[in-house]
């Protein structure tokens, strides 16, 4: 085409102004009171958003910025004037004139009991927030008695709705205790530590990965996270993106390498550094936060506020780092 100018030869003409996304609809502000103070937040905000904007520290376990609120853990509940029951701050939207109390006796008692019920039935030893929450609300998970014997491997996975088991002998606190599931090279599932917050199900589902390898099976205290027909991960739909690990608040889901280091007593958070860089694989440009201990990458996550990842990664980004650590230590120029 002789009529076509050699456009590549010259820099393209500039637009008169930088292109912008469509203008967002104007958001009206909503006024409410939190603990008696008037707060103004955009319509559509949750009570939790308003609390955070106001600097009111609200405990959460099942909430995460990049997931749809699921209201499972109830540790964020607040009192709303005129409401018969306590409201979950993480999902309840603000309304004009709403009067919210975050630290009444009723709220504190409810949060305390929620924490005690979770703490008595679930191993929270690797849940980073748990100790501070327990201290703050004076929660005593031991008060229900000694922990019952853990279940045998796969025993809880076979429980059916409506099956309940009278305690035999000494009264003890029921737990979700059971052996760790290790069926692949990349991650372990320790459901003794699962508080059923649903975050992993959401990250595996519509909130991010859309693989739907896991869901909640069973009912009541027998409810548990399960693959289809409770098959092992290698036989499930799992694609090992590890986004379930990324959102797990208790360490129930863990890199196998982290699990093994913890077992060996070599996991040393004080000796770890975190550095943000960009994934070495495809061109999407995901931010990786490399957790490094003794010059070895021990874990990879992604920041929730990355516009590219929104905290989620794929199997290569999350686990594919090992190659940098498999080079000859004596690597030297050769001729």
């Amino acid at each position: 085409m002789s009529s076509v100018p050699p456009i590549q030869f010259y820099p393209p003409a500039r637009s008169s102004q930088p292109p912008m996304p469509p203008e967002a609809a104007r958001v009206v502000q909503v006024e409410l009171t939190i603990d008696g103070r008037t707060v103004s937040v955009p319509a559509g905000s949750t009570i939790l958003d308003a609390c955070r904007a106001e600097g009111v520290d609200t405990p959460t376990l099942c909430y995460l910025e990049n997931l749809t609120p699921i209201n499972a853990c109830r540790v964020c509940v607040v009192e709303v004037a005129g409401s018969r029951v306590l409201a979950p701050a993480c999902s309840r939207k603000v309304e004009p004139g709403m009067a919210v109390q975050t630290d009444t006796e009723r709220v504190r008692l409810s949060r305390k009991v929620v924490l005690e019920l979770l703490g008595s039935s679930v191993d929270l030893s690797t849940a980073p927030q748990a100790p501070a929450y327990f201290a703050r609300y004076g929660a005593d998970p031991e008060r229900f008695g000694a922990a019952a014997q853990p279940a045998a491997a796969n025993e809880r996975d076979g429980l059916e709705a409506g099956h309940h088991h009278a305690a035999d002998g000494q009264p003890s606190a029921a737990t979700v205790g059971q052996p760790v599931k290790i069926d692949n090279e990349l991650y372990v599932r320790d459901y003794s530590k699962c508080i059923l917050c649903y975050k992993c199900v959401e990250a595996c589902g519509v909130d991010a990965q859309n693989t739907f390898a896991i869901a909640v099976a069973g009912r009541g205290f027998d409810a548990r996270i399960s693959t289809e027909w409770n098959v092992g991960l290698p036989d499930s739909a799992c694609v090992y993106c590890g986004n379930c690990i990324g959102v797990c608040p208790t360490g129930a889901l863990m890199f196998r390498s982290e699990y093994e280091m913890r077992e060996a007593g070599t996991w040393d958070e004080a000796a770890q550094t975190s550095t943000d860089t960009i994934c070495p694989y495809c061109g999407v440009g995901c931010t990786l936060s490399l957790l490094v201990q003794d010059n070895e990458i021990v874990k990879v996550t992604s920041p929730l506020d990355s516009s590219v990842t929104e905290g989620h990664l794929c199997v290569k980004g999350r686990f594919g780092f090992s190659f940098v650590q498999q080079r000859e230590p004596g690597a030297a120029p050769t001729t």
Partner: protein
Amino acid sequence: MILWGSNARETHPIFFHHLLKGVNKGARLYTVDPRRTSSAEWSDGWLGLDVGSDIALANAIGREILAAGLENREFIARATSGIEEYRAKVESYTLEYAERETGVPAAMIRELAHAFASAPRAMICWTLGITEHHNGVDNVLALISLVLLTGHVGRYGSGVNPLRGQNNVQGGGDMGALPDRLPGFQHVENDELRAKFDQLWGVTVPPKRGWHLSGMFDAMERGDLCAVYVIGENPVQSEADQAKAIHLLSNLEFLVVQDIFLTKTAQLADVVLPASAAWAETEGTVTNSERRVQRVRRALAPPGLARDDLEIVVDLAQRMGGNWPATTPEAIWDELRMLSPVHAGMSYKRLEELGGLQWPCYDENHPGELFLHSRLWEDPVPGNRAPFIPVDHDPPVDRLDADFPIRLTTGRRLDSYNTGVQSAGYRSPLRRGESLDISPEDLARYGLADGELVRVVSRRGQISVAVRVDPSLRPGLTFMTLHFQDDVAVNLLTIDATDPKSGTAEFKATAIRIEKLKAAVRVP
């Protein structure tokens, strides 16, 4: 959304998360791919075309849009040139012709044409299914014509979007690692642009474009290129027609390889310079598929005597008599900002604060551009109008015939990457090694058992590999990856027919035959 020659679900998983948000909110997705991929499974429509018939399909879509009067006449008149030539070119690409040539039902082509043209905004994304052809540039031009026809370009949520396959393949081009460009896409044969570089660097930059990768191999064959310095690339395993590539690299007078591993290419080298891993052991920037320049940072100390690429290059320059002082990644970046107007506003400080910036970013108050070509919606359009460049269908060079009746196409799988140098390092539960993926129909036709070892022969070479049945493939179509070249050298089969404009080889279209071994061998 049209995904054309891209299995983004597996090759760009996090991009696909964003796409799925749209799909879950009701956006329509069409996938054009010879394979019914995991991306296609998410689509409203799958157009399973025959390998290499993309232009026949694109031109038929263009013709249908024009025939139905769905083109954006106002946009075409104001912002484009050459519509009449385009109209004349696509006139013969009827739906019936396209159905015959591509294998896609005419009704499906019509549905896509109408859905695309009448959508308030629409985007075409592609990957190597478009570009790894002997006429890859023409394939791209055919897709560009579709967005010019409909005005789906230069506006939010619209456009043509090549999904970059490597973490800095965009940045490499941006920095001038192209045969005809200086940093910032400034043409090396443009005297005015080149003069800036001459002045700042105090040298005379040769006013002539160089060779692209396949041009270098041609030059080796002619004897015009006898010394090669390879940085971070493994051409011994990644080039098409591998036997030829190895022969040419082995016969060089001098080969230097700078890499983090002793790759198969490094094993041929006269000198190997161990480098640090750019993404985890050095400071710098990379540029992603949305033109976002982002910082990479040093998290680890490199092993042994491995050094930063930058230090190695500076040292080499000094040994060769250049007066290059020791420098830092940030100082080099600031030098780039002086020379490349599209990067001028991207200080390290802003990159840190904003989590990256998208070029063009002309000054430190510029926000970077969310999408390109918005000028096409100004009246009058500043600069040149966007030209329609009509192209014709031209089937793959490696023709199917009685001796080579089966089409082999190659690509990636989710957990692996390119020649496996990086991805082989972790133990993926998804990995199952190389196989010749084959349709259930062909498996039965050849009387093969799933997992049986076969000989695969092309016009250039042969390999042995186990077959694996894959219902996403149609009869006559087979698939292999490029990830396990140490075990199965698939590039012994591929053809080095290259696009004269891009230099990219036709990896996507190899003609093969499948030979049953005398004694059936089942690979467990």
